[in-house]
Symmetry: D2
Subunit: 251 residues, 4 copies
């Protein structure tokens, strides 16, 4: 099982999250590419941190919305999505080349990910950008969504994603941020969820009922949840204690 975390979300004089602590627990880093966070100096430092800790680097492209941290949906055309994502993939790749590491995956950030999950043209545009750039990159997607379908249809390797620290509903969608219980902040609860996902392929929905199936190749732990490093560390420890091998996605 891969553990992925967002990373490099500083900007200029403003700080990012607890990157090194998060990265110690994780195997893959989703690195901000400048459109919602991540100026060039931050990108260089973040890629270098991943290199030093031996973690996989992936791109974390966003809508162009620095002031909104990429969390606001925009009526962008597929061509705008495709070229904005392509631009960001290339920008991050330059720092990978500079550091002598290879980019391994792509995970949309914030609103562009949430829109792509439900909107086929956006999903296809993201997949097309990745195909144009590097067909071997892992394409992160929520299981059962148009985003995953678009990745598969484009011939990409899709890494199905689960969230250790986000409640889900019976229909397989996330409880929206801002609703009560959306975030799971207790490390042991998050860790126990991660273990069931990894070992049984199920998750218990917040709105009651039976566990629902949830295939996952990678488990996300958010970096901006209170106590995020403790959650990430607990998830990793629990997975390892349960005999789940924590390792990056394969070549």
């Amino acid at each position: 099982m891969d553990i992925n975390v967002d990373m490099g979300e500083a900007f200029g004089a403003w700080p990012g999250g607890p990157d090194e602590a998060m990265l110690r627990a994780a195997t893959s880093a989703n690195v901000a590419c400048g459109f919602h966070a991540g100026d060039p100096r931050t990108m260089a430092r973040t890629v270098d941190l991943c290199r030093r800790l031996g973690r996989n680097v992936g791109a974390h492209p966003s809508y162009p919305d620095l002031v909104g941290f990429g969390r606001r949906a925009m009526a962008a055309t597929p061509e705008e999505v495709r070229t904005d994502v392509l631009y960001q993939l290339g920008a991050l790749d330059a720092f990978c080349r500079g550091a002598g590491v290879r980019m391994r995956h792509v995970k949309g950030h914030g609103a562009i990910y949430n829109v792509a999950v439900k909107d086929a043209p956006t999903a296809r545009a993201m997949a097309e950008a990745v195909v144009a750039f590097d067909k071997t990159l892992w394409f992160f997607a929520l299981p059962g969504t148009l985003l995953g379908e678009a990745g598969q249809a484009a011939g990409l390797r899709v890494a199905w994603e689960a969230f250790a620290d986000r409640a889900v509903r019976r229909d397989g969608t996330l409880v929206p941020r801002g609703q009560p219980g959306a975030l799971i902040t207790d490390p042991e609860t998050a860790a126990a969820r991660a273990v069931r996902i990894a070992r049984e392929g199920v998750v218990v929905p917040a709105d009651g009922g039976e566990p629902i199936p949830w295939r996952a190749d990678t488990i996300c732990v958010h970096s901006d949840t209170p106590g995020a490093p403790e959650i990430a560390a607990a998830v990793r420890r629990a997975l390892e204690a349960a005999g789940v091998e924590v390792r990056p996605l394969g070549e």
Copy 2:
């Protein structure tokens, strides 16, 4: 002799220059990378235009100054210059990969080029960015400047540059924009200068005196001079008529 032109300097709803007409006369295109001009759609279109016309694509990185079109010097640290340039090289390269073409050269835009010509730390930072990205790229520089020295010291292939449409002074510097006579707008005058540069390796300074030596591997024709396409076409015709082979820089 290579002929280079700036290209892709539109932004969003705002138009760029006469790109296709300029490119027909040129062999190399310096493509804006988003910091002074060139949003991702424009970059995609511009790289595609170069591909269709079979012209070489190069990056045209700038200080981050959209409102100032990259023409204002900034007190950027070498680390800022290095990472800003690296970011832009990567961003453009993504569109090259998407279009199946290779990036061939790098030429600084506006103020970053003018500063790098005279400021060793900036010059070195630009060269380091190119080395980190791709050591085989041609590195454009004014002859006799710190920028060219930095490129050579870093092990890059330096393409020495002359300007068909800019007056120069006895000391080998350009007459600053805004001063009378700085721009040469008569196509035949520009063309005649280009021929002397290519065949004799000299240019006649605007402040009088003997022709000065000017080694050039590439001749720039600016896209924003009035009548730019006519100047570019005249330069190409005159070079060819004088028996100078107009072709891109070698592999």
Copy 3:
């Protein structure tokens, strides 16, 4: 009848529209405030042009989307809309103070106007910004929309708007840009429409049927339609020939 035109939509080195020609035909100018177009130099020049020609200055606030020219809807919260609009009103007002003129009206630009027409929280947020800034400003709105209602509910003077050069549908909405016939580019056709709006308070819908009522205090002529200055001039001439007094909205 007031005639309003968008203005000051240059940015940095990129040109705007035919401002002076448009303004000669108009009585009110909607001046870009920096979020979709209009850097500070452009704003200063534009306000000065209005002062010289004796035209009324109004603010033309937008979503923060320079690369999309403010034409893309964004999932902005009401607080984001309110404060973004307030910021832009103040920024433009500074240039009015500098030029010794008074700001007279507010008209949303592009997507923020189109969203506010149908979305009550956005409409209210725009009205709240204007109330907070200056309750005496005219608040431009399409008749029969939530935007107009929000302005009235907030105690603002609403100037109902019609478009000389945009086709409308039986339901009172505009034919979306990009659909055939959305733009009316023949000056005489646009002028005849303006006269019927001004004299009879009706407009003929593009999808057939009877003329529909359309109350208008101000008629917009777009600056980016091909032949815009001719359309604007024809509209003004036709209104005056029909005995309609062309004059700015009252104090």
Copy 4:
């Protein structure tokens, strides 16, 4: 004696400094206006905080350099400086109007202040912007500088400024940030300096020698120094204990 602090230097999702704690010790707030920090939501909240605590609001305009936090000098023309400052004054004023408070002063931020201190055209451009906007605003300047002269020549009320937490040199300039000893981080040392400035009009230079005269109407305590709230509180307490009345600049 006035005590001024920088404020509202958050941006979007990124946090600012300890604003409320700083403001409790201060009498005047220099509020970021969006060019180096301070998005519209932050500006609204910051002005509201000043209103609740009864502190004076002033503008803190900057070069347009978000990624560099306004700390990098730029080769801006006087017209660029004048209009950039005017834009920011207006933007902040909108929030003052919304909150029912009056803007009272202007203090340049970072590089624009440092350049204006030594460069007459920049200094004059800043003063012209303030005159165009509101001649009654206090204009903050380092004593003995071109900035102060420009303010006086333009007919503005100049508030001479001293820094409690920055070392100065015999020639009356600040020890540059980054040099050893540039920042004074011990609260009692800073407080003692403030008292000598207020009572004796002198400051002891870091490079030795006699105390030099330093006229001050306002003392700045930086918000980004480690322990800034303790320094600010100590300065205020010490001034009051020494019988210096701490109060905002007069009407």
